[in-house]
């Protein structure tokens, strides 16, 4: 990438930077240096092209076909996209994904920020707590989901047992169309807490102590310090966590696949699960590719909106 930048800058100085000026050739040593840079980058670029860009482009082509993975693809034009516009299950999956994002992202960020603030102190044993919160993050999502599936079983699960002991109403959880998605969100937030907590912790530890001291000298209380010092100084980290959390939430799949298979009655079907279902279970790879591309564009628009609006609330030092 440095080579490309250099090449870009070189173009400004070499070649014909302005009208009327003589054309100047790039010095030979710079050309060779750039070739070496590309040579070292080649391995990564080849991997990127073959394993990432290639499938992306092929998938784009497949979205205009009726490919079933068994035979040759046949072009069908925009039929898949037109069918999507009338597909109730697609809109159900889109809504479920948006619902999942709107609840899990803020909840996860708020709780992990609170945890990070609680753990941002030099106390004996604080490392143990930080490690404990990271354990769900590094555990396999499938194993975790299986565990939660057992805990949330309406008949033999631990959660309903504890609710009964406390004389509280129980729930059908994963068998209840109203509670299945909240149950999945609960599991996802629990699992992702540690990761966001670590990011926020790093951000908190980057806030200069002088600012806090100055605020206290000026009479700021804890809340004022949080709102006027901590949050603004943490805004770059918050922006990063927000972007990756939203992208990740749009891609939710493991939890729904293990726990509910998109049910009951499609109440937990998400876009990625629908892609998997139509592609690998129903062998409608062309249609699945179309869904994947719609998801890609939705994610792209959301991230671009975040990027544009960050100027209003993200403060870089």
């Amino acid at each position: 990438m440095a080579g490309l930048a250099e090449l870009g800058r070189a173009k400004l100085r070499w070649g014909r930077p302005r009208r009327g000026m003589p054309f100047r050739r790039m010095p030979r040593h710079l050309v060779i240096e750039n070739l070496w840079a590309f040579g070292f980058l080649a391995l990564s670029l080849i991997g990127l092209v073959i394993l990432t860009l290639g499938p992306i482009l092929v998938s784009f082509y497949l979205s205009f076909t009726d490919w079933d993975a068994l035979g040759a693809p046949n072009l069908v034009g925009l039929r898949n996209f037109i069918a999507l516009a009338h597909d109730k299950t697609f809109f159900r999956a889109l809504w479920n994904t948006i619902y999942y994002t709107l609840v899990s992202v803020p909840a996860g960020m708020i709780i992990s920020l609170a945890l990070a603030m609680a753990l941002n102190r030099s106390l004996r044993g604080i490392g143990l707590f930080r490690t404990l919160f990271m354990i769900p993050v590094i555990s396999s999502t499938v194993a975790t989901a299986l565990l939660w599936g057992l805990m949330l079983d309406p008949y033999i699960g631990l959660v309903n047992y504890l609710l009964q002991l406390a004389h509280l109403p129980t729930s059908g959880w994963l068998t209840d169309t109203r509670m299945a998605m909240p149950a999945i969100i609960l599991m996802s937030v629990w699992k992702g807490l540690g990761y966001n907590m670590v990011l926020f912790l790093a951000g908190l530890q980057g806030i200069p102590q002088e600012l806090r001291e100055a605020a206290r000298i000026d009479g700021a209380n804890v809340w004022n310090e949080f709102v006027h010092i901590t949050l603004p100084m943490l805004s770059p980290t918050t922006f990063f966590v927000l972007v990756i959390s939203i992208i990740s939430s749009f891609q939710v799949f493991d939890q729904t696949w293990v726990l509910t298979k998109g049910g009951p009655q499609e109440s937990t079907i998400t876009l990625v699960y629908y892609v998997y279902q139509t592609g690998f279970q129903q062998l409608r790879m062309g249609y699945a590719s179309a869904i994947a591309y719609v998801l890609f564009f939705i994610t792209l628009i959301v991230v671009m909106l975040q990027w544009v609006t960050q100027r209003r609330w993200v403060f870089y030092q």
């Binding site: 060779i32 009726d66 079933d68 068994l70 008949y155 169309t177 049910g263 009655q265 690998f280 062998l283």
Partner: protein, 447 residues
């Protein structure tokens, strides 16, 4: 970094290119040497329990007698295996031989993926009268109805029951006289509640409750094999679905499962093992799991009985389907592939060794021999499954829609019915949806 001269750059490029070419040649030579040597086959199968060990033992004995043959396996659980197989077919790297359930076969046949086994089966002098009646059904395709798959096993549904809970309640044990009405009475009598909470379920229904009850009442989801039209909007089908729904809604004897729970940890098949379910209408394929000496049921006595009969006819009817073996047309070794399939599946040896460890062998002598001796004789009524297979079992209906498409759609829609939704309205909408999906499949594959 000091600049290279043109000569040095060309020299280095030349050496690098030569080295790459040389390594490619060595690899190609190695491959050629490998191809001239032993015959290499790949066998793919979904597996569970000790089935991989059984495969390895049988294949190990086979390759000892055929030293020119090497066989590699591709094992996974069912959904993982099907995902992998789909990807392999797309990449053209599918195994030579695979075990499947027949719902994928119509599509595979339509895309020309399957090897015609008709001549092999004829040469092997397979006497289909010695096999369970429906085991070979739905495995023939094309205008000439040639055989493209061979059955390893078949299965059915039975009524599993917890003897301890029956004894505790002083209830009469299930027998061949039971009908749907008897089942309802027993389920109600054996359901125990503490306030609003059910502490003991009278009845659980495992795989596809709607299919089991439809079969019990002699109705079907489609119009026949190689189905063309859904029957869910027929009054008699709606009536059968209502009878299934009554267990969940009207009588409160049966827990609603998460959709598509199948053999999941919280499916009825597995819940029965926890010991708080008096009866479970479910598959014979649970026999090996329930009777497994290490992980099976040990806390209570259990047994199996005939699936309750339709009160009008007095005859129990259940549904089953085979596990089958196919050979992909792409194989470089069709003869050797067939010989292995013959050893594993068609021969009595394979039926005894592999079939009896997977489900019920499709060959009657193996089912009545090894399978009965190894598994069924441990039950109080060892003949129930064999009689059911022989007389009372239909085949699952196959067509251009595979089970992952149409059964999943049925599960999703009927989940509302198990929770009180109107049966007729749901079934009518479901019939339209299934016909629509089938129409799309016909547009693509013809037929």
């Amino acid at each position: 970094m000091s600049a290279l001269s043109r000569r040095e750059f060309i020299k280095i490029s030349g050496y690098t290119t030569s080295a790459l070419l040389a390594s490619r040649l060595i690899t190609a030579c190695g491959k050629a040497a490998e191809e001239a040597g032993p015959i290499h086959l790949v066998l793919g199968s979904y597996v569970f329990g000790n089935v991989p060990d059984v495969y390895k033992k049988i294949v190990g004995d086979y390759t000892a007698k055929n030293p020119n043959l090497t066989i590699d396996f591709e094992f996974a659980d069912y959904s993982g295996f099907m995902d992998k197989l789909t990807t392999e077919i797309a990449a053209g790297t599918q195994p030579d031989i695979a075990m499947l359930i027949p719902d994928s076969l119509p599509k595979y046949f339509a895309q020309g993926l399957l090897l015609d086994l008709e001549d092999f089966v004829k040469a092997a002098n397979v006497d289909k009268t010695q096999w369970y009646a429906h085991a070979w059904e739905g495995l023939q395709f094309g205008a000439d109805q040639h055989t493209y798959a061979v059955p390893l096993t078949f299965d059915a549904d039975v009524l599993w029951y917890n003897k301890g809970l029956f004894d505790k309640a002083g209830a009469k044990l299930p027998d061949e006289t039971w009908t749907y009405d008897t089942l309802v009475e027993a389920a109600q009598a054996l359901t125990v509640k503490e306030g609003d909470n059910v502490t003991q379920w009278g009845l659980g229904i495992g795989w596809e409750p709607w299919y089991q009850l439809m079969e019990m009442f002699g109705v079907y989801p489609w119009d026949g094999q190689n189905f063309q039209k859904s029957q869910f909007d027929k009054p008699e089908v709606i009536d059968a679905i209502q009878k299934a729904a009554d267990f969940y809604v009207k009588y409160g004897t049966t827990p609603v499962q998460p959709p598509n729970s199948g053999l999941a940890v919280n499916g009825a098949d597995v819940q029965f093992m926890a010991g708080n379910m008096a009866m479970m209408l479910g598959g014979t394929w649970m026999t090996q799991t329930y009777l497994d000496p290490t992980s099976g049921i040990k806390d209570f006595e259990f047994d199996n009985a005939f699936s309750p009969a339709n009160p009008a006819t007095g005859t129990p009817l259940t549904v089953g389907q085979p596990n089958v073996f196919i050979i992909f047309k792409k194989t470089e070794y069709p003869e050797e592939s067939w010989k292995l399939v013959n050893e594993l599946v068609v021969s009595e040896t394979g039926q005894n060794a592999l079939g009896s460890n997977v489900e019920i062998p499709a060959l009657k002598s193996a089912a009545e021999g090894t399978y009965k001796k190894d598994w069924l004789d441990k039950l109080g009524h060892p003949d129930v499954q064999l009689v059911t297979m022989d007389k009372y079992t239909d085949n699952v209906q196959f067509g251009l829609l595979d089970e992952n498409t149409w059964m999943v759609e049925v599960d999703n829609q009927l989940d509302a019915v198990w929770k009180g939704a109107d049966v007729a309205a749901t079934c009518t909408a479901l019939a339209q949806k299934l016909d629509g999906l089938l129409g799309e499949a016909k547009t693509k594959y013809g037929g």
